[in-house]
Subunit: 223 residues, 2 copies
């Protein structure tokens, strides 16, 4: 049975990679920068993304977001407060988004056309394992880690951190009460993915958001 | 391909259920209470379990732990500080433990015999989705949720909370800086799993640990 599973898994990933390659080509042609945000449940992806969308809109950027969850549209409703078009994808038990879900939800999204869009954010299902194998056609994969989770997560979930293009440490306003060891966390991130961009942020206080927004503006050629 | 995947998945889960039923029978015959601890990465399972093992040992109980992670033996080393026998299971990319892994690691565990053991804790891989489908032969499945993660996690991950026998809220020492809404969290847990035992704890300050340890002592017939 193991051989059949490995073969099927390879087949699924191959099909996903083909779809993702098609998406990437469409995104590049349309000139939209696409980011895939991955983290554990509760890292604060939604609060971070809401603030990101709001600040980018304030700079005149055209932004949108797709947000994945097993159930509920809580996150889409929270993100919509930014004023950006947001669409919820419910996976109903599946532990990650895949390229087919992205393709399907872009197809009939009446509020959004890729043409004229500067940045599209995809907030993945909260999970540090399964999303790392599924390319969504993004140009930048962002691994998020909160100060409440412990400094050793990059070592324990190397698949995600190794495949990421940027790392975001969230909730740094809680660093002190959590006894967060910043140096250790940075060492662990760099051990798994040497030289990765690391942003230290708080969506609550706004700390570190300027550096993050400047990075996005530069990558999306907004300036 | 979808039909083949569903069939294969059913086959895998059926095989797992059979193995788990065998494990459950062995655990019951040996008189050992087995718990399966499931949560998001960074909820504080290991700190909570370390304190649990230490306090149970102080009461004269015979305890042991199996701990699952994709990579590293960090958690086994942390838990070993309690003085209890601990064994690390590395899943190398698999996002949950299964009954076969438990069977195999019990077989050649020289430090531990089920006979004479009061409680065996299984700390699952940090993941709120995949572990919910895999019975490990446990009698009590514990869903853990930290105050840093947000009150809506039970609604967003109903599979786990619905299949749990007890819920543990961790890191309550951080409730205030996190702006944790206790009533909302309790309402959400009870919406998904009405009447479940809920323990509100801090492994750091020891708050709520007495109630939890008394519950375990009663369930394991220690008193």
């Amino acid at each position: 049975m193991t051989t059949r599973i490995v073969e099927l898994r390879r087949g699924i990933l191959k099909k996903n990679d083909e779809l993702a390659a098609g998406l990437r080509e469409r995104f590049t042609t349309a000139g939209v920068l696409v980011l895939n945000l991955v983290s554990s449940p509760g890292t604060g992806k939604t609060a971070f993304l809401e603030r990101t969308l709001t600040e980018l809109r304030a700079r005149g950027a055209s932004v949108a977001a797709l947000v994945g969850d097993l159930e509920t549209d809580n996150d889409a409703r929270r993100l919509a407060a930014s004023g950006a078009p947001v669409r919820q994808i419910n996976t109903h038990g599946i532990c990650h988004l895949d390229a087919e879900m992205i393709t399907r939800h872009l197809e009939d999204w009446k509020d959004v056309s890729l043409i004229g869009l500067n940045l599209l954010f995809i907030e993945n299902v909260g999970n540090l394992v399964c999303p790392s194998s599924y390319d969504l056609g993004e140009r930048i994969r962002v691994a998020l880690l909160s100060v409440t989770e412990g400094e050793d997560k990059p070592l324990k979930y190397p698949g995600l951190f190794n495949s990421a293009d940027a790392a975001v440490i969230t909730k740094i306003d809680l660093a002190k009460p959590c006894g967060f060891d910043r140096d250790q966390a940075l060492r662990n991130i760099n051990e798994i993915r040497p030289g990765i961009h690391v942003f230290e942020t708080s969506a609550k206080t706004g700390a570190g958001m300027d550096e993050w927004i400047n990075y996005l503006a530069w990558e999306a050629k907004l300036t």
